[in-house]
Amino acid sequence: MTAMQIFFLIVGLVILGSALMVVTTHNLIHAALWLIVTLFGVAVLYAILNASFLAVVQVVVYIGAIAILFIFAVMLTRKEIRDHGPQLNSGWWLNVIIALLTFGGLLWMLQSWNGFSKTAADFPSSYDAVGQLGKALISPDAFVLPFEVASVLLLAALVGAVYIAFNPHSGDFRK
């Protein structure tokens, strides 16, 4: 086992452990902070996969924006940050079985695929992935349409979200 593989296993354990904390912890702020740990672990995976742009974007977008929005939302919708009652539905053990079945099914499907234990060729050190991504995002015979549609999607999300959450006549969230 090489040092890289040991490092990968540690990162994987951190990701899965913190993900479990996200779905089980009582305190929602803690859940959001554990989510940040998970997301950071995923960013490390991207770095191992030589996708530096995505690794950095993962930190900027998820930790810098989405997690902050989550924490704001938790603080807006809670009069008491700590929740005393049970956080899981009564039939949670059924959901454990469903999740395990999904995991087993996915694994069974994947291991029957012949590319499952493929290894990667060495990454050419002079390969400019960011520049290639820029060209792919903007050239008409590649992905310019999804790129512009993503922009329109974000615009629609902004308009919709602000329309839903924002009511100029009520002013603030006081009941």
Binding site: M4, F8, I15, L16, A19, V22, V23, L28, A31, A32, T38, L39, V42, L45, I48, L49, N50, A51, F53, L54, V57, Q58, Y62, I66, L69, F70, A73, T77, Q87, L88, N89, N95, I98, A99, T102, F103, L106, L107, L110, F116, S117, K118, T119, A120, F123, P124, Q132, L133, A142, F143, P146, A150, L153, L154, A157, G160, A161, I164, F173, K175
Partner: protein, 102 residues
């Protein structure tokens, strides 16, 4: 080197954990946290397929970028809905929102 299977197993496990969170959490914000985990699992797959396939084909990375945009939109609209519901019904427990249920 690390085989592709390791990434796929981690991503499948992350997806299942996210699914469990979505199914069993009571709080609507926590359900959205579970959805974030599932989207990240999908993204790990996309990027590892890019790396283990032909790296001159940027489709994997481009789709990962699109997933970022989708995740951001989903969070923006989802949390806005939760907050709107909270203002009208004073609750964020998904089970209490049963107006559409018979």
């Amino acid at each position: 080197m690390i085989p592709l299977s390791w990434y796929l197993i981690i991503s499948a496990a992350l997806f299942s954990i996210g699914l469990f969170g979505v199914l069993s959490r009571k709080n609507a914000v926590a359900i959205l946290l579970g959805i974030e985990l599932m989207l990240n699992a999908a993204n790990i797959n996309l990027v590892s397929f890019w790396r283990y396939g032909d790296i001159s084909q940027m489709a994997g990375q481009v789709f990962a970028v699109i997933v970022f945009a989708v995740a951001a939109s989903e969070v923006a609209v989802g949390l806005a809905l939760v907050i709107s519901v909270y203002r009208r019904r004073n609750t964020v427990i998904a089970d209490d929102l049963d107006l559409m249920k018979w």
